[in-house]
């Protein structure tokens, strides 16, 4: 099983599949952003904004890992949650 099969869109025409997955990943990134922000206190939020503005990926990564050690776990859960919510929505709107 994979996300395409989970959401029942594995046989969508290729172009539509790409567009839809792009929207899905956009939504996923938004959620991650919110979660990261939620996991930082006010000082770290300010620091985070400052580092983000520096446009230094390595530094940003280092900062996030130091402040949110379980960030990968958060990402994983967030994606699972997204898929689950979509499936619930699909079931409700049969």
């Amino acid at each position: 099983m994979n996300i395409l099969n989970d959401l029942g869109i594995e046989n969508l025409p290729e172009d539509e599949k790409k567009n839809l997955l792009a929207s899905l990943s956009e939504s996923f990134l938004r959620r991650i952003t919110v979660r990261i922000y939620e996991n930082l206190d006010e000082t770290d939020q300010t620091e985070f904004e400052k580092i983000a503005a520096e446009n230094n990926p390595a530094k940003l990564e280092e900062f996030l890992k130091s402040k949110i050690p379980n960030i990968e776990e958060i990402q994983k859960k967030e994606l699972e949650e997204l898929v689950r919510e979509i499936k619930d929505f699909q079931a409700e709107n049969k």
Binding site: N2, L4, S23, R30, T33, N56, L64, F89
Partner: protein, 593 residues
């Protein structure tokens, strides 16, 4: 011209030698007489003797009037179709009557029918075995081999049809000879031709099957004639091949229609059998036509609804399959003579039934594809609905937070993408359901990365862009800058030293050749990476490099882009212990040049 060389093709002379006990000298005299009278013609260039059937008959009649011949009781065992035909002609004795000739012809028909049935049975068993083997192939990795096996099946199908036709036609010739004694010799020749040609086809099929099995064992693609459009359906290919076949048909043989009132034919199908066949045919015709009409209506309706293009494409494939069935029905019905024996009718019915069943399966498969696609389209609509609502929720957070989040999101999105935090996560994330499968090899990763990068600074186009040596503060770039070649950020210090030493060497010898130089480097690297596994490669060339704190931002970006490019390889497995796939090696190779 040696006389012995002509015996095989000159039945008259063989007859004289074998049956009439003529001396060599007498045969030569007779041969000269036949030649001078124009009955026998000689092609001096090819040293071949040719003689027409009509001439042969004349020669035999002429000889029989002048000689008294005793038939030998024991005929030598002869196996091939050609020999069987020759045997009949050889045995035309002055005393023999039409009845005996017909008996011999009936033997040919009987033997041929028996042989052909047994050959078809053997081929069908082999076909079944090949199908079994083909099922074991991976439909993606062995797509080409499967397509070629399909061609073998198509070829077999053609042979089965040809065999059945030949059987019907040889039987018909036997009947025809009874009704038209004057055409006996002609009928024998036609029967002989059909038998030989059919046996040739069967032998070719056996060879093709044999080669197919051998190729499967060697895991090579199969040896089948000219390439064909892979999209063409099996059924269509059957018809195309059938139409191209050089096999003689009833029409080719230009049979004269048999007058049913002329003589009673005991092997004719009964009225009931004919009616049964007619009912079957009418029903098949009606079903095919009804289905064709339905599909045409569906195509119109889907076109009007602007349905996914693939739905219409599938429907057109179904329409083609039905069209082919229709064509085959027409061909078969034309080849049926009302006086054909019941076996011929049954065979035609079987051919059409099989094809109808095959067409039915094919159309059912198409139906399933369409239904599945329709379900996906419906699900996609729901996902879009969810995403709209989700975006709405996001925007409905308090204005202050939303503004801030939007601002942060815009800033960090490209950065998150560039770090190893998000991209590898998107590329390889285990789903909740199995904990095993992930996004690898799916369009998700490709689409995600592609689409997000539309409004993001790094682009995939920059993947193979030249790195500016000025921005890389490492010792090896000194040489790079000196010689003006591209800097390869993935080059290990060891490889870099090798490269620099080669460059210096070349410079010293004043034989510097960038192309040779590059190919040496590439070869050295290729030798080095070709035996390592995919997972080792990823570990060595990407993971460590991405987290390299000494690398510049641009270099990191460059490496990240390479990672993204790799992630676009279909079905790429980052944890594979198999040697690197060619596609990755090529990509890496391209990068190093």
């Amino acid at each position: 011209m040696a006389l012995s060389a002509k015996k095989a093709s000159l039945n008259v002379l063989r007859f004289m030698k074998n049956r009439a006990n003529y001396s060599e000298e007498k045969i030569k005299n007779l041969y000269d007489r036949l030649k001078s009278s124009g009955i026998v013609t000689v092609d001096n260039e090819k040293e071949n003797v040719t003689i027409s059937i009509k001439d042969l008959e004349r020669a035999k009649k002429s000889l029989s009037k002048k000689t008294k011949i005793t038939q030998k009781p024991n005929l030598p065992p002869e196996n091939t179709a050609e020999e069987k035909g020759s045997e009949i002609i050889d045995n035309i004795q002055p005393e023999s009557n039409q009845e005996k000739i017909l008996e011999k012809l009936a033997d040919i028909v009987k033997n041929f029918t028996r042989d052909i049935e047994s050959q078809i049975e053997i081929l069908k068993k082999e076909e079944e075995k090949l199908r079994g083997e083909a099922k074991k192939l991976d439909p993606i990795k062995n797509a080409q081999a499967i397509a070629e096996i399909e061609k073998v099946f198509t070829g077999l199908r053609e042979v089965f049809i040809a065999c059945n036709r030949a059987r019907g036609e040889v039987t018909f010739l036997g009947q025809d000879a009874k009704n038209h004694p004057e055409k006996t010799a002609d009928s024998i020749a036609k029967a002989q031709y059909l038998v030989t040609e059919t046996e040739k086809k069967i032998e070719e099929s056996k060879t093709l099957l044999q080669k197919a099995f051998e190729s499967l064992l060697k895991n090579e693609s199969l040896p089948v004639s000219e390439p064909e459009d892979a999209d063409k359906s099996t059924i269509r290919k059957i018809n195309e091949k059938r139409n191209n076949t050089s096999f003689a048909t009833a029409e080719d043989a230009k049979f004269e229609p048999v007058n049913p009132n002329e003589k009673e034919n005991t092997t004719q199908p009964s009225a009931e059998e004919l009616r049964e066949f007619q009912d079957f045919f009418d029903q098949l015709k009606l079903t095919t036509k009804t289905n064709l009409d339905k599909i045409n209506q569906s195509i119109e309706s889907e076109n009007a609804k602007n349905s996914p293009s693939s739905t219409v494409k599938y429907l057109k494939q179904a329409k083609n399959a039905l069209g082919n069935l229709w064509e085959e029905m027409n061909t078969q019905i034309k080849s049926i003579n009302p006086l054909s024996p019941p076996a011929n009718l049954r065979e035609t019915k079987k051919i059409l039934s099989d094809l109808a069943a095959e067409t039915g399966d094919y159309i059912s498969g198409i139906g399933r594809k369409i239904a599945s696609e329709t379900r996906s389209v419906r699900n996609a609509e729901k996902i879009r609905g969810f995403l709209n609502r989700h975006d709405g929720n996001f925007k409905s957070l308090s204005k202050k937070i939303t503004e801030k989040l939007n601002l942060i999101y815009k800033i960090i999105k490209p950065n998150l993408l560039r770090t190893s935090l998000i991209v590898p996560f998107l590329i390889a994330f285990p789903t909740q359901e199995t904990g095993q499968e992930n996004f690898r090899g799916m369009n998700f990763k490709t689409t995600t990365v592609d689409s997000i990068q539309k409004d993001n600074q790094p682009t995939l186009d920059s993947l193979f862009a030249e790195t500016n040596p000025d921005t890389i503060n490492t010792a090896q770039t000194e040489t790079a800058r000196k010689f003006g070649y591209r800097v390869n950020p993935f080059l290990s210090p060891e490889d870099a030293r090798l490269r620099d030493s080669l460059a210096e060497e070349n410079m010293a010898d004043n034989r510097f050749d960038m192309l040779t130089f590059n190919s040496k480097i590439a070869k050295a690297e290729y030798d080095k990476i070709k035996n390592i596994s995919t997972s080792e490669f990823m570990e060595k060339y990407l993971k460590n490099k991405i987290s390299d704190s000494t690398a510049s931002e641009q270099e990191l970006e460059h490496r990240q882009n390479f990672a993204l490019q790799i992630s676009r390889i279909k079905n790429f497995n980052f944890d594979s212990k198999e040697p690197l796939e060619d596609e990755l090696i090529k990509m890496y190779y391209k990068k190093t040049k």
